[in-house]
């Protein structure tokens, strides 16, 4: 190996646990299973891993996965070990960290593991999130004003977005029913019953305009991804990391302006520049969609609907099966499963490997993977390509 010569960095292994709506295993147990599964998928021994990146939500339980996983998970002799945390942009940040380490020779084969288990016995997900957040600081004041859980915050964003763009709840409905249509073909999706417009409008309102079906489905689960510069690792199914971009617009909450909108396009532009591609080269998009409105907003802000307004694009089937830009093809976080930034990354890997079964996008060779964090404060974009 020659230092200073950039090596082709590829995603060479994928391991996933069951995505479970039932409480049970701890984040550590889930991470162990995903890691072992990824090693088997890549066809390598654990000692071939010389870098380990771990991620977990800040979320709701004290035993979140951390760097102790290196010892707990049986790793040894690592040259890279970090806990990456940038909220919903974490998984793309992990791939980027791995890429930089590999390109500079700091590591050769890096495992990225994300595990979460927000669902605990005796409580629904909504209740668990409503009770978390504490009584201190800004969050304490917001909670004392009735902002319980994350839905009302995104409901405020959604109301503002609908107000400024002229979009309406029929657009939210189109996103939700399209995600469900995709989920029907995904055995890993947690909701796989057909959904029509009527079913959407019958869904109970949580915080208007967001109904229960506009919200992601948190699961207990883990995903591990192996990133390697060694062409012999996972050679049967390597996906080249073509470009990664980040954007952290750092906005402030002030009167007379927007604090949620207008970010992220730069992350996509940077990733495309690095890849030498244009938006027309993208065969699919896997976007972070914790709430239906975010899919609309990101399609718009990332410039992914061409000359069409996002409402027309989505209502016209542009993101569905057979559409111009199949999006969130496993049902996304709405109908598939919410495992933070691993949801869109795992789906892109499955699709580009041609392993999508009933939901496979024909001839898909490139994918844009998106991640957002916080209150749309952080954006990350990754472009993957199936090796020719």
């Amino acid at each position: 190996m020659t230092r200073g010569v950039p090596r082709e960095v590829a995603i060479a292994g994928l391991g996933m646990t069951e995505m479970s709506l039932r409480p049970g295993r701890t984040p550590l147990q889930l991470a162990v299973e995903a890691a072992r599964s990824a090693l088997a998928d890549a066809g390598i021994e654990q000692r071939a891993i010389d870098g380990l990146l771990v991620g977990s939500s800040q979320g709701v339980r004290p035993d979140r996965l951390g760097v102790a996983f290196a010892a707990q998970g049986g790793f040894s002799d690592l040259r890279l070990l970090e806990h990456i945390e940038i909220k919903g942009a974490t998984t793309i940040a992990m791939v980027q960290r791995a890429q930089l380490a590999i390109e500079t020779g700091a590591a050769t084969t890096v495992m990225c593991v994300f595990a979460d288990a927000p669902l605990v016995a005796g409580k629904g997900a909504g209740s668990t999130y409503a009770h978390s957040g504490g009584n201190a600081g800004v969050r304490g004041l917001e909670r004392a004003s009735g902002v319980l859980g994350s839905v009302p915050t995104y409901a405020l964003l959604a109301r503002r977005w609908l107000h400024t763009t002229g979009a309406d709840e029929a657009d939210l409905c189109a996103v939700v029913t399209t995600a469900r249509a995709w989920a029907l073909g995904n055995p890993a999706a947690v909701v796989r019953t057909p959904l029509d417009d009527r079913g959407y409008y019958d869904s109970p309102m949580v915080s208007d305009p967001l109904r229960r079906l506009d919200c992601a489905r948190p699961v207990n689960g883990a995903v591990a991804v192996i990133v390697s510069g060694d062409p012999s690792v996972g050679e049967a199914a390597r996906l080249t990391v073509r470009g990664i971009g980040r954007d952290h617009p750092i906005r402030h909450r002030r009167a007379g302006g927007e604090s949620w909108f207008g970010g992220g396009r730069r992350a996509v532009d940077l990733a495309l520049d690095q890849a030498g591609m244009s938006r027309a080269d993208l065969d699919m998009a896997q976007l972070y969609d914790p709430f239906s409105v975010v899919t609309l907003m990101l399609l718009d802000e990332y410039g992914l609907t061409g000359v069409q307004p996002v409402s027309d694009f989505v209502r016209g089937g542009g993101i569905g099966p057979g559409g111009a830009l199949p999006t969130n093809t496993g049902g996304g976080q709405l109908s598939g499963f919410y495992l933070q930034g691993m949801t869109p990354l795992a789906e892109a890997i499955v699709q580009l490997r041609g392993a999508g079964g009933e939901r496979q996008v024909p001839d898909a060779a490139t994918a844009l993977v998106g991640g957002i964090g916080g209150r749309v404060d952080h954006h990350a974009a990754l472009i993957l390509e199936r090796a020719a």
């Binding site: 800004v138 004041l141 839905v151 915080s207 009167a255 007379g256």
Partner: protein, 163 residues
């Protein structure tokens, strides 16, 4: 401090904010006197986020909390239908507003009265206070037709924080 007469219409007192040593202590202190205090850059007067410590415009690390006018307009609003048992007391959906204050800040709040649910984006509002577990919390009411002189800004500092 909390008595039966002191119960908030919306929330269980267990959600009362920590006040002692909290980063928002100047806000709670002013609120207990019926005033709204918010942070500004002490050097260029830019409105600061509630937890901002360095000004993004001029780089100053000096923050000045001062009382501001009790008026604003609705930046966004939602009506919360999900009412978490044990935390939410009201039996009906309740509003959550993101208010653009005349001072230049934005502040999340609910309404002063449970009956006020008809807020829309762009509506003028006035700021009053709820009492939650003995802590005064900013809350909105539909703006009265004419502004009251009592609501005018006062320029004096009520607390100053220097590094």
């Amino acid at each position: 401090m909390t008595t039966a007469l002191d119960l908030d219409w919306l929330l269980n007192p267990s959600l009362a904010p920590d006040v002692a040593d909290d980063t928002l202590a100047p806000l709670y202190t002013a609120a207990s006197y019926g005033q709204l205090a918010l942070p500004f850059c002490a050097d260029c007067a830019t409105p600061a986020d509630l937890d901002q410590r360095v000004c993004d415009i001029c780089g100053s690390a000096r923050t000045l909390w001062r009382t501001v006018q009790l008026t604003g307009t609705v930046h966004s609003v939602t009506v919360m239908h999900r009412r978490e048992p044990g935390l939410v007391r009201t039996g009906a959906p309740y509003p959550i507003l993101d208010v653009e204050l005349t001072s230049g800040h934005r502040l999340i709040m609910t309404s002063r009265e449970s009956a006020d649910t008809a807020f829309r984006i762009g509506d003028p509002v006035a700021i009053r206070f709820r009492s939650l577990g003995g802590v005064a919390i900013p809350a909105a009411i539909p703006a009265p037709p004419a502004s009251s002189p009592a609501n005018e800004s006062t320029a004096h500092s009520i607390s100053e924080e220097c590094p």
